[in-house]
Amino acid sequence: MTRHVVATVDQIPPGQRLLVTLAGREIGIFNIAGEYFAVGNRCPHNGASLCKGRVVGLVEASEPGSYQFSRRGEFVRCPWHGWEFDLRTGKSRCEPDRTKVRSYDLKVEPGGALTDDTLRAETFSVSVEQQYVVVEI
């Protein structure tokens, strides 16, 4: 397991996403109302870039015609065929057990805490004062 510093928190404002490549893997970092998630970028269906999809809420129904909307912005809808993926788990909405994208552990940490040997900041140097998005893969 290696921890990667991928961005400062203010580089990914709420509702935005950032595509990074870590150890050859494309990973999308999503900021949902101040909470950060990291999932594989490649749609397991046909390979579209999930980072280019729209972020949507969860639509459920207790019965036909009754639309319950929750978890605003916590799913990404594939830009091509519209498959929905839960950003918290990487599971697809329609086939949660069969079709999923890899989701990665992600932490927000202050620069001062980032002294670990295994840590890699690939694109910038880390300053003690800043808050950083750290992905573990």
């Binding site: 019965e63 036909p64 519209g82 909405r93 329609c94």
Partner: protein, 374 residues
């Protein structure tokens, strides 16, 4: 192959069959007169309704498909109008356990909802008296005026206590797609009473039989029936009929069958992309079909029927979906080849009767009520 009488010492390979699609013909409106009230009886005279030929456009009386040549009853009699002939041709010959009557008569397609309701009621009464009461193997579908939900519900309620009515029949093409919520009181009642909705090929011709307009030929209308079934299944799934009524069963009758593979592939794929439009559809359409929809086997649209059924079972991952039917007296097969010869024994048995018993909860119950009544 040509003899019709079942010989006593011969055990049919179909012995114990449940024939889920038999068509009794109303010989003429005169037989319905006793079941109509004074108003309609007078109207029949005044408007000479009894001179109308109410053969459905979907089944031209003399078209080769509408009657198998060795099942005709002579010039004067409509095919399917004789119980005796039905017994000879199918029930006795195949040593059937039960046969389900689906009466395709004009009653349900009149534009007037009141006229449709009156004639549906009369048709059901006549079926009870002239068929069900005369052969204990027979069961029937309730004919309803589907375009008026209230009247349709009333007609179903009228039959609720007679367990020989095992199903509600609707034509595959009526006024509204079958999933539409206007129909739901019918489905609610069907679920409560253990009556599957039997969707039968045929159209009330409210609209062109195809989305590209009116074809020139009967053969095109008939071929388009399988498309109508696909669209109605998609309608019932998308509208959430099976989410709302989890115990409801639908039986596609005379649908052609082999289109089902393409249907589930396309429907499943579409669902994954548009799920948010219909969030009550929480499972793949193929799974919903497996749980809720059954199919009578004649006709089988394939050159090699055995291979076709094996392929279907493989694609739908179930051997519980298919129900034996002869579609009597329609001409779908020759001789005794209502099912291909070399089906695996388990599958043959399931198709022949077990699947039908699981589909129609009232089939077996009817015997009990009748025994009590006797």
């Amino acid at each position: 192959m040509t003899g019709n009488a079942a010989s006593a010492d011969r055990v049919s390979r179909y012995a114990g069959a449940i024939d889920c699609d038999l068509h009794p013909a109303v010989p003429g409106m005169n037989v319905l007169l006793p079941y109509l009230d004074d108003y309609w009886r007078e109207m029949i005279t005044v408007r000479a309704l009894d001179r109308l030929n109410l053969s459905l456009t979907s089944y031209p009386q003399n078209a080769p498909l509408s009657c198998r040549p060795d099942w005709t009853l002579g010039e004067a009699n409509k095919p399917g109008s004789s119980l005796r002939a039905m017994q000879d041709h199918v029930l006795d010959r195949y040593q059937a356990r039960y046969g389900i009557l689906n009466c395709l008569y004009g009653a349900q397609v009149f534009h007037s909802e009141d006229m449709a309701a009156a004639f549906c009621r009369a048709t059901n009464d006549w079926i009870r008296d002239e068929w069900l009461n005369r052969d204990p193997r027979l069961r029937a579908s309730i004919v309803i005026p589907a375009h008026n939900t209230e009247l349709a519900v009333a007609e179903v309620e009228r039959r609720a206590d007679d367990f020989r009515f095992v199903q509600i029949m609707m034509l595959v093409s009526g006024e509204l797609t079958l999933g539409r919520r206007q129909h739901w009181p019918i489905y609610r009642l069907a679920e409560r009473l253990g009556l599957p909705i039997g969707v039968h090929a045929g159209s009330a011709y409210r609209y062109a039989p195809t989305p590209v307009g009116w074809p020139s030929h009967f053969v095109e209308d008939y071929i388009a029936q399988s498309a109508a079934f696909e669209n109605q299944l998609q309608s019932m799934i998308a509208e959430g009929v099976f989410a709302k009524f989890p115990d409801l069963k639908v039986v596609a009758i005379e649908s052609g069958l082999t289109w089902l593979s393409g249907f589930i592939w396309r429907a499943d794929k579409t669902w994954k992309g548009v799920r948010a439009e219909v969030p009550w559809v929480t499972r793949a359409p193929s799974e919903i079909v497996r749980d809720h929809v059954r199919f009578t086997v004649q006709p089988i649209d394939a050159a090699d029927e055995r291979e076709a059924i094996a392929r279907l079972v493989d694609h739908v991952k179930s051997d519980s979906l298919f129900l034996f039917s002869t579609d009597y007296p329609h001409w779908q097969f020759d001789g005794d080849s209502a099912l291909p010869q070399d089906l695996p024994a388990d599958l043959f048995r399931k198709i022949l009767s077990e699947n039908a018993l699981a589909t129609y909860p009232r089939l077996a119950k009817a015997n009990q009520t009748m025994e009590i009544a006797l």
